[in-house]
């Protein structure tokens, strides 16, 4: 199984950058350029508060990771029809590996943003970096849960991807990415945190930019929510996948 997962990820990665001038460098260049451009625009050209610029960049990148990987995950089973209808194959592996490309981008971005903050802003402790790593991991768990459910639902309802894309657009403005959460009345915060990207983005900003680690309770709630999404997605997948694959 590990060999299969590794080969599928490697193939996807190789195919994506195959025949390009920069080759694998593109995987590195894309998130780094994006980081540099966004930082220059918001911090240097618009002379915005550095903290605002960093908060904005962290929010944009993490939300983009969520949006791109769930959209790919949703289509993953359909995209591998040729494989799933012709051989006995653990189909969940296809869903799992579909998020690899977006994950590589977010990992490179995470290293870049941590390096930038450590060098130019303030020292990041090991605990803060670990916490941020945990949030990205939990975000990945949430994404896999959603992708598992979405991928089998897509085989039954072929416009789920359109609906999800609309939801992603609306979610972008519902999530405090371009505006700070403080401008929203406190009584609505619970609903905003119930939309899990908000929690992951706010927690990440808190440890990286402010240097404040959220409470244990907050961590446990995020952990519980991620586990619940994965469990729900996996349950739906196990229930629907055997018959849904006949619709491919």
């Amino acid at each position: 199984m590990p060999g299969l997962i590794w080969t599928l990820i490697r193939t996807d990665f190789k195919t994506r950058y195959h025949g390009t001038l920069g080759g694998y460098l593109w995987a590195l260049v894309k998130p780094l350029t994006m980081f540099a451009v966004l930082y220059t625009v918001f911090s240097v050209i618009f002379s915005m508060d550095t903290y605002y610029a960093l908060n904005l960049i962290i929010g944009l990148f993490l939300y983009d990771f969520f949006s791109e990987s769930t959209k790919t995950g949703l289509m993953s089973l359909h995209a591998k029809t040729f494989l799933l209808t012709k051989t006995k194959f653990p189909s969940w592996v296809v869903v799992l590996t579909s998020v690899s490309s977006a994950l590589i981008t977010v990992v490179i971005f995470s290293i870049a943003v941590c390096a930038y903050i450590s060098i130019f802003r303030r020292h990041l402790s090991f605990l803060e970096i670990s916490c941020f790593g945990l949030y990205v991991f939990l975000f990945l768990v949430i994404i896999i849960g959603i992708s598992l459910a979405g991928s089998v639902l897509f085989l039954r309802y072929r416009d789920i991807n359109q609906i999800w894309e609309l939801l992603m657009q609306a979610g972008f403005f519902f999530t405090p990415i371009v505006y700070p959460l403080d401008i929203v009345p406190h009584k609505f915060h619970f609903f905003m945190y119930a939309w899990l990207p908000t929690a992951v983005i706010q927690f990440s900003r808190s440890v990286l930019v402010k240097g404040e680690i959220p409470t244990i309770t907050a961590h446990l709630m995020l952990l519980g929510a991620a586990a619940a999404v994965l469990f729900a997605g996996a349950s739906l997948y196990c229930r629907l996948a055997p018959r849904s694959l006949e619709r491919l």
Partner: protein
Amino acid sequence: MVALKVLEIHKSFFIPAVKLETVREHILNSFRLRKYLKDGRELKVLSGINFSVKAGETMGIMGRNASGKSTLLKIISGIYQPDRGTVECAMPITPILDLGVGWNPELDAIDNIYLLGTVMGLTLHELKTAKDEILEFAGLQEFSRLELKHYSSGMAMRLAYSVAFRAVRGLLILDEVFAVGDMEFKEKCYQRYEEIRQAGHTVLMVSHDPSEIGRFCDRAILLEGGRIVQEGSGQEIAGAYIRSLSAEKCQQQS
């Protein structure tokens, strides 16, 4: 020892008059298309299939198009679920229902060997040691770094064949995969297949070629309309298949 036991397998597909595939269509249906939902027909593909295969035996399956052969193989392989009945298999299954499943035309032969091999259950270590042998069997050593999109279809199939036969473990399921390459390569494949049989593997094969069933199968079944109409030795069933084809031809002419 019984390697495979197929008990009372039934499978049908519902073909609706109106196919509801989107959320919008499902919502609209709940208002005004409800009557169409009931319309449709049940396409019965398999009805009460029973047979067993002993360990080390080669079982053939013959039948005209749409007799349910491929659906039966997919159920045995675990790709489709039966409506009723069970499949009991005492060993791991290697299904080869199509050659070159999952390969990527943008990648070269070696990368595709890794891709196809892992999909078929081989480990990276096994593939690393076997890749030269796989290329040699396919006669493609000098093209190992050529992208698959530049291969002729025969070359690509030879490569797929070599990987597939390397991945065999337990019960081998073959769905009409012998129609590959030139006569020389075909004979090479037959020899490899004989080696697999002699190594004690159990084989379940579908073929439209009576000579293949007669030559390789210890026993065979003839499917018609999703039912087993005859069971016997490979040669008996090959003969019955030819007779059923001729009878149909005579009927059409008259």
